[in-house]
Symmetry: C2
Subunit: 372 residues, 2 copies
Amino acid sequence: MVQPLEITIERSVNKKEKPPEDQLGFGTYFTDHMFIMDYAIEKGWHQPRIVPYQPILLDPAAKVFHYGQTIFEGLKAYLTDDGRTLLFRPQKNLQRLNRSNERLSIPEIDEALVLDALKQLIAVDQDWIPTEAGTSLYIRPFVFATQPALGVSPSTHYQFMIIMSPVGAYYPEGVNPVKIFVESEYVRTVIGGVGEAKTAGNYAAGLKAQEIAKEQGYSQVLWLDGIHRKYIEEVGSMNVFFKIKGTVYTPSLNGSILDGITRNSIIHLLKHWNIPVVEQILSIEELYEAGKAGFLEEAFGTGTAAVISPIGELSWCDEKLVINQGQTGDLSQRLYDTLSGIQRGTISDPFDWMLEVEGSAPVAVSSKNSNL
Amino acid sequence: MVQPLEITIERSVNKKEKPPEDQLGFGTYFTDHMFIMDYAIEKGWHQPRIVPYQPILLDPAAKVFHYGQTIFEGLKAYLTDDGRTLLFRPQKNLQRLNRSNERLSIPEIDEALVLDALKQLIAVDQDWIPTEAGTSLYIRPFVFATQPALGVSPSTHYQFMIIMSPVGAYYPEGVNPVKIFVESEYVRTVIGGVGEAKTAGNYAAGLKAQEIAKEQGYSQVLWLDGIHRKYIEEVGSMNVFFKIKGTVYTPSLNGSILDGITRNSIIHLLKHWNIPVVEQILSIEELYEAGKAGFLEEAFGTGTAAVISPIGELSWCDEKLVINQGQTGDLSQRLYDTLSGIQRGTISDPFDWMLEVEGSAPVAVSSKNSNL
Ligand SMILES: Cc1ncc(COP(=O)(O)O)c(C=O)c1O
Ligand SMILES: Cc1ncc(COP(=O)(O)O)c(C=O)c1O
């Protein structure tokens, strides 16, 4: 049997100053340590290690710069009032990591090892988990191709890393609906492409449409399918749900949509509450018709960053559709309260979603105090 | 008026050993120097410099790793028999570089400055241009996002680099037809996406299909359009042409196809020769019908790496189509000979395509000699 790899730890000697918790924003500050592991075609994944957060040295010919062979994940650790550290369904992220790897011809990673690395890294940087209401520690695992060679083919060498960033409350003043631009010109991806994978190119492809929408006062774009420009796919980097005449609809996983973990959890919760929820193909025309007939009761995006992001207004081909008078709907609010309550340990966890990072509580308490 | 930026040069003290010219391959060896220039939102592009080829230091949160905001170009320098160094239509590459930048929300780069940088870099590494028949110096300009921030939005900071690699003869034993797999499941891109841009994600998206085709004995895939899976787009990283009953057809630039510089030059040459050439939408059914009726005379891919790559056989939904008995066609050969002759300065250049890197000849001669 293959011996499990041992994770070595090199502790930082120069700890960074922690940023003020009301100025964290998203993904701009990083903790004192990071996890790193290498892959070479002749050795497989090797040398898993926690080291001080530091720049990486790469050959300018490394394939990631040229051919974008890279994937990532995003999840959060939450600190509970009683000092426990909880992760939300991390196994799901690791499974998706490997599905993305598969699609991008990147070698599979041992999920148990990565989960272990994640826990150890969090324990080492425990004092970086912010404590203010709504804050959390965002965790970014990612893999990229390092072989310095310009032939277009899968790399023989990779690095896998985990970096972490304390992030601010998404809604410092309560859940807030956004205006969304329905994008008819640009598309994010198409069936047969890599839309199902969490890979860099999908996000690069979305930047321009997003910039244009921002300039016009919208916070995000709603992506339509790349074939008919008709069927609803996602909203920015979120999955999307609509409540129409009491039933909740979300686009089915057709191959070009990301299988969001928040999406999956929302579907679970709705079923648990006996609220009808349907995964199906959904056209923007139908949605507008339902809206104009007064049947569209709520709309919201779902994702790790915001949990729930209510949509107060859509704009499609110059036609605006106001949803629930631009207010957060009751179901959106209930889903937000429930899911974020489960994540933060303030309400019970009926599905066993939360994974406690064990042995971290004492560290948490002491280093938090030392930071006061 | 803004002063043009001055390019500084730091010469390498430890010159690398040159690889044997019959073992160059493609993009695996790199020259002694590279060009680099930085962008910061508050300063614009600044500090253009030629420095020894070296690894780059990047924050692991740099946006290129996560959101793939990066573009590149590819062109070649050729050494003529009389010791001159020629570039093939480099201005076209720089224009395309900026079109790619525009699509990826990357700030525009001064094309005149880059051309100057390119010439100076080649002059500094002149002794790296290989001399054997068919060899050349491959030049890879590229831009990538460096801002260490995980929000999905255009970066505030970038680096632009040029690296160079001596590359072997593409056809050491004469032009050679390849077998191509017509891909019906995976797609490279779709209209509304970034297929027109030379950006990393397009290549990442193609890796898996390419791997599967290779395993089955094909050298590349032919991409069909992402909407109908019916219309021919490109072959691997090449544009594609078909000669049917004396007329040459190539897919029109519909927004999801790269505007290849070789493609453009082939169209010019054909027109110059009064051979009918048509840019139009072209379905794989039509092509197969023409082939089965005996009207498909030649097929070939075009690109900087191979110039012309004749297609000897297609396989689409298990149906094989042999073209020109699997042999290189007369027109393919004539196009190859003419274009590569113009590029290498052995035949006249009626369109003024070649740009000489001035002042480099003496360096070339002396350092070549010193390498003998
Ligand atoms: C494109 C895209 N869709 C949807 C989501 C939502 O997925 P999750 O709920 O797993 O965060 C994300 C990531 O957050 C995403 O990047
Ligand atoms: C996708 C793709 N198509 C076509 C080409 C051919 O373009 P060019 O003739 O400019 O090399 C390339 C690049 O070489 C490419 O990457």
